[in-house]
Every structure is written in structure tokens, then in C-alpha cells.
């Protein structure tokens, strides 16, 4: 009997937990539903009906039209953001390795500097950033935006990688040193493979952060074609907003990070677990 009650309590808790999950899930799904429903409506309907009311007919015309308009910006964003995420992760893990190897006052202060750099708001560096990119002749170019994003997100990558690095037991590195491996080889052959989940997590995180970044592309571009977030913004007109097109653009623009997260999410979680539980040897 006692056992039965325990099971009952257990299932009650499971139900409560599931309910919480469902509520949170709904909260997160509602905007996506709103986007979808809004993009299927005509301009008149989207302005005349509540956001959450379903569309009167399934009209994919808007989505198709916006998709054509978005091809350029989507491509531009991809070729900006992918190398930035990869390169920042790579640089960040190199920085994290040297910090982990040193563990002295110098590396501690570098670590603090990196942490501070992560928290500098864009607005504080706005003018020098634009001037720098201009002086390099990269204003209103994809490399210019990439350079700014890279500068801004590499400290964050380093910070994340330090956390993942600290989950790697030091004896692997020491064993490799005794085996005769120099730092670069230790990093490449021993540390990097053990960092796998951490690298994936950091790269996913940076991909999403840079994809969704609005301010840096805005500062460094003349038009709206360089970055997806600018393009979405462009549907807000001075004389009025094409809500159905903006919904469609938002929907299409948020798909890539969503797909990345859904398909690679388990690596992301594995990375977080590695941080919590140490690397399984």
C-alpha cells in the first residue's frame, strides 16, 4: 500500500512537471504560431483581425513572395555568420587552452579582461567601431560586419570555452606532455577531441547570437540587404507597415537558427552536461 502511495505521489509530480512543460511550450510556440498565421493572411485581414485568430484561407503567396525577396539577405547572413561562429569558437578555444595551461596571475587578469569585454554594450563602442571599419575600407561590406561580429563575440566564445575546458581533467594534458607532445599537438590531438560537445555548444550559441544580431549590421550597412535582421526591419515602412510580409520575413528569418538548434540541440545539451558532470573517460 505504502508503495502504491509513493507511486501515486510520483505520478502526481510527473503530471505537475508535464503541465509546467506544456505551459512553457505554449508560451514559446504562440509567437511562432502568430508569425505563421499572420503570414498566411492578406494585408487587409492581418490588420483587421486579432493576431491569434486563424487565417480565413491558407494563402502561401505572401510567404513565397517574401522568400524570393529574402534569398539575397539570407545568403549574405549565412556567409557572414557561419565563418564568424566557427572562427570565434576556434579562437576562443585557443584562448581558453592557454588560460587553462597557465593558471597564474597573468592568465587570471586576461580572464577578467575577457569577462569585462563580454559585457561592453554596443552603444559604448559605436563610434570607434564605425570609424575602424570605415578606415579599413570595409564599411557596408560583409567582411566588415563579420569583422565586427568576430571582435565582439570572440571574448564570449573564450569565456564559454574556459568553462568547458575546466571540465577536462588536467592529467590528459600532462600525460600528453610526458609523451612528448608540444602545446599545439596537445591541443589538437588531446584537448580538441575532448572539447567536442563544448565546441558544438559554443558554435551553436554563437551562430544564433550573430544571426539574430541587429545592431552591428545596422551600424555598418547602408541598405537592408547585408543581414536578415535588417531585411525584416525593412518591412517597417515610414508610411505604414506591411504586416503580413513582415510576419513572413520574421518567420523565414527565424527558421535557420531554429533548425540549427533543433537538429543539433542534443549536442548543445551534451555540452552543458559535460560542464556539469566532467568528461566521461
Amino acid at each position: 500500500m505504502a508503495l502504491g502511495r509513493v507511486e501515486l505521489e510520483f505520478s502526481a509530480r510527473v503530471i505537475a512537471a508535464s503541465a509546467v512543460v506544456v505551459v512553457f511550450g505554449l508560451v514559446w510556440v504562440i509567437p511562432i504560431y502568430g508569425l505563421l498565421s499572420g503570414s498566411l493572411k492578406s494585408l487587409a485581414e492581418v490588420q483587421g483581425t486579432p493576431v491569434l485568430s486563424p487565417p480565413s484561407e491558407l494563402n502561401f503567396e505572401t510567404i513565397a513572395r517574401v522568400a524570393r525577396e529574402l534569398t539575397g539577405p539570407l545568403k549574405n547572413t549565412f556567409i557572414t555568420v557561419l565563418p564568424v561562429a566557427a572562427l570565434a569558437t576556434w579562437l576562443g578555444s585557443l584562448a581558453a587552452y592557454s588560460i587553462y595551461r597557465r593558471m597564474d596571475r597573468v592568465s587570471d587578469s586576461i580572464m577578467v579582461a575577457i569577462a569585462i569585454a563580454t559585457y561592453i554594450p554596443y552603444h559604448a563602442i559605436l563610434v570607434p567601431l564605425i570609424n575602424l571599419v570605415k578606415s579599413l575600407g570595409l564599411y557596408d561590406t560583409l567582411p566588415g560586419i563579420a569583422l565586427a561580429l568576430l571582435t565582439y563575440y570572440t571574448p564570449m566564445a573564450a569565456l564559454l570555452m574556459v568553462i568547458f575546458m575546466s571540465a577536462i581533467p588536467r592529467f590528459y594534458i600532462e600525460a600528453a606532455m610526458v609523451d612528448g607532445a608540444g602545446d599545439l599537438r596537445v591541443f589538437r590531438r588531446v584537448v580538441l577531441p575532448l572539447l567536442g560537445p563544448g565546441l558544438t555548444s559554443t558554435m551553436i550559441f554563437l551562430f544564433i547570437m550573430t544571426w539574430n544580431n541587429f545592431y552591428i549590421p545596422l551600424l555598418l550597412s547602408r541598405g537592408y540587404e547585408t543581414h536578415i535582421t535588417l531585411k525584416i526591419f525593412s518591412y517597417v515602412g515610414q508610411s505604414g507597415t506591411l504586416y503580413n510580409e513582415m510576419f513572413a520575413a520574421s518567420l523565414l528569418g527565424s527558421l535557420p537558427p531554429l533548425i540549427v538548434f533543433l537538429s543539433l540541440g542534443r549536442y548543445f545539451i551534451r555540452g552543458l552536461q559535460a560542464y556539469g558532470g566532467g568528461v566521461k573517460a
Binding site: 592529467f171 600528453a176 610526458v178 609523451d179 612528448g180 608540444g182 599537438r185 575532448l194 573517460a281
Partner: protein, 357 residues
């Protein structure tokens, strides 16, 4: 001046701010010798090994490997582990989890830039010596503790290092595997004739494999000697009580009831202590013909399976002694105790005399 094995001169290691891990340690390891550093946790033994490997830098003192100085802070000399040509087995073996056994063993050779065929030949060779030929395609996680240890040993030995360093290599093995692993390591070491330093807190490890044992406590060498020597002639109270199982009885010399048996054979001063190994004091009901004899009352009898030990009260002292196999004792009985060997330690804890009965 430095021998061909390992030489450590006046080595001191201070961890900031002021933890003294090693305090003026000097040591010679002969070429081909199997030296064991034995000490409790926190004695500095692992630090000593790590300094020899180059994973730590000494605060003061010089380290020589094969006659060459590899660390000397006074001359700002520090050769990193990569260039010391040492093989090391870590406590948890530290096999690279992302590499197969073959690649683990091949790793040191790959760094040396040997050809693929040469690497293959030497990995096969060492795998054969260590009996792990069948494991080369496995990942470390697919191996038992004993197998992992052999792989770690293979990785340490494959580059034919000048010295082999073993950090508590048996402590992660279960009791049964441990015994065979000790024999195995000893055999491999002897057949290769490689200068070896093993660090352990377990005296059974030390006795099983060591040609000589260094007893370390609180960063200082207590005694260096052959296993039998440490057991028979402990230099001080620490070695005396640390080595031997069951541990040596140590009692105040004065007013303990044992003073009488040593009187006339050694002078007992203030603060002196007497040490008796349980295996060197035998309790029986029949009066012995002579020797160092005392009488006492049995307090408790314990069996270890093959032997029985009794706690016997002699005067104010309480001693753990071996029970004569022909007698069976029970608590409260009066017994005779014959002492084969009695050690006397002065007020500083140094052994000043041993009386043999």
C-alpha cells in the same frame, strides 16, 4: 658526479603561499633500479615524482636524469617534460579516451616522427611484452582496470624512455588484480632493466616491487633502505609505525612493565619509547626456556584467518602480540610473552638500540 639513473639534490618544493611539500630531499636512483617512494597522503611523494617528470618545477635543488641536470632553479634551468625522455603511468592511467589502444600507444612514437611501419612494429612489440595484442582495436572505456593499466604501461615504455615513473599505479585496481599486477610490473621492469620510480601509500605495493624503498613523511625522507631493512631496522618511530602490518606496538619505556626486560641491555632515558612488532612477540601458556620474557593477562583474541593475535596487558602497557599456534588463549588468562626483538627509541623518536631475544 651524478649517477646514470636519477639523482635529486637538496630538493625543496614550496607551494604558494607557504606549503612545504618537499623539504631538502636528496636521493640517488641507480641505473636499472626499482625504487619505491612510500608515504602517507600529503607526504610529498607525488610532488617528487612530478618534479622528476618535469610537471612541477622545484623551488630549490637540482634534478639529474641519466647524469644530466634537468632542473636547477639556481641556474634558471628547467627542461620541460617533453624533452626529458621519461615514461609515466598516471594514477588513473590517463588513456586518451578518443583514441584506440593502438593510437594511445603509438602517440609518443608519432610525436617522434617515426614512419608508419616503424610505429606499427614497435607498438606490436611492446603490446606483445605486455600481453595486450588483442586489445589494440579497442577504446579505453572498453577495457578493464588491469587492461587499462597495461596499456598505460605500454604507452610509457614504447619510446624506450630513460626512466619510468609510476604514480600509484595499483591503487585503482581491485585487490585480486592488484597482486598479479604487481608481479607483472616487477617482471617487466626487471626484463627491460629500466630505471623506475614508483610512488605509493601502500606498503604491500612497496614490498612487492621495490629494490629499495624511500619512506617519506611531511616532505622529508625518513629512511632509505631495502624492504627487509626498513622492517628490521626502522630508523625512527615514523618508519617503525608506518611499516609493518599489523602495526608495531609503541609504548612509553618507563613504567610500562616492559622496562624490566630491557634493563641492563640498554639505558632508558626520559621520554624513551619501546617498539615491538606483533609478529616478533609470541604469547603462550607454557613457560619458555629463556630469552626476553614477560607475563601478562589476555584482554582480547583476534583471528586473521591464518594467525591469531591477542591484546595482552603487561603492567600498564597493552600490546598486540602473536599467539603461539599450539596455544589457544581466552580473555583473562595469564600468559608468557617471548620477545624476539625489541626496539628502543629516544626522546626524538630515533631508534638507538634493538635488543634481540
Amino acid at each position: 658526479m651524478a649517477g646514470k639513473g636519477i639523482r635529486v639534490e637538496n630538493l625543496t618544493k614550496v607551494f604558494q603561499p607557504n606549503v612545504v611539500a618537499l623539504d631538502n630531499v636528496s636521493l640517488d636512483v641507480e641505473k636499472g633500479e626499482f625504487l619505491v617512494v612510500l608515504g602517507p597522503s600529503g607526504s610529498g611523494k607525488t610532488t617528487l615524482l612530478r618534479i622528476i617528470a618535469g610537471l612541477e618545477r622545484p623551488t630549490r635543488g637540482v634534478v639529474y636524469i641519466d647524469g644530466e641536470a634537468v632542473a636547477d632553479p639556481s641556474k634558471k634551468l628547467y627542461i620541460p617534460p617533453q624533452k626529458r625522455d621519461v615514461g609515466m603511468v598516471f594514477q588513473n592511467w590517463a588513456l586518451y579516451p578518443n583514441m584506440r589502444v593502438f593510437d594511445n600507444i603509438a602517440f609518443p612514437l608519432e610525436i617522434k616522427g617515426l614512419s608508419k611501419s616503424e610505429i606499427r612494429r614497435r607498438v606490436k612489440e611492446v603490446a606483445e611484452v605486455l600481453g595486450i595484442q588483442e586489445l589494440l582495436d579497442r577504446y579505453p572505456r572498453q577495457l578493464s582496470g588491469g587492461q587499462q593499466q597495461r596499456v598505460a604501461l605500454a604507452r610509457a615504455l614504447v619510446k624506450n624512455p630513460k626512466v619510468l615513473l609510476l604514480d600509484e599505479p595499483f591503487s585503482n585496481l581491485d585487490a585480486r588484480v592488484r597482486v598479479t599486477a604487481r608481479t607483472f610490473v616487477k617482471k617487466v621492469q626487471r626484463s627491460l632493466g629500466i630505471t623506475t620510480v614508483l610512488v605509493t601509500h601502500d606498503q604491500a605495493d612497496a614490498f612487492a616491487v621495490g629494490d629499495r624503498i624511500v619512506v617519506l613523511n611531511q616532505g622529508r625522507i625518513q629512511q632509505v633502505g631495502a624492504p627487509r631493512e626498513l622492517y628490521d631496522e626502522p630508523a625512527n618511530l615514523f618508519t617503525a609505525s608506518f611499516i609493518g602490518d599489523p602495526p608495531m606496538n609503541i609504548v612509553e619505556a618507563h613504567a610500562s612493565g616492559l622496562e624490566a626486560i630491557v634493563s641492563g641491555k640498554a639505558s632508558i632515558g626520559e621520554g624513551y619509547r619501546i617498539g615491538v612488532r606483533p609478529d616478533e612477540a609470541i604469547a603462550s601458556k607454557t613457560p619458555p626456556p629463556g630469552g626476553l620474557v614477560a607475563t601478562g593477562v589476555v584482554d582480547l583474541v583476534e583471528s586473521t584467518g591464518s594467525r591469531e593475535y591477542a591484546i595482552v596487558n603487561i603492567g600498564r602497557a597493552s600490546l598486540n602480540v602473536l599467539v603461539d599456534p599450539s596455544s589457544s588463549l581466552s580473555p583473562g588468562e595469564r600468559v608468557y610473552i617471548v620477545f624476539r626483538k625489541v626496539h628502543i627509541f629516544n626522546e626524538k623518536g630515533e631508534r638507538i638500540a634493538t635488543i634481540v631475544g
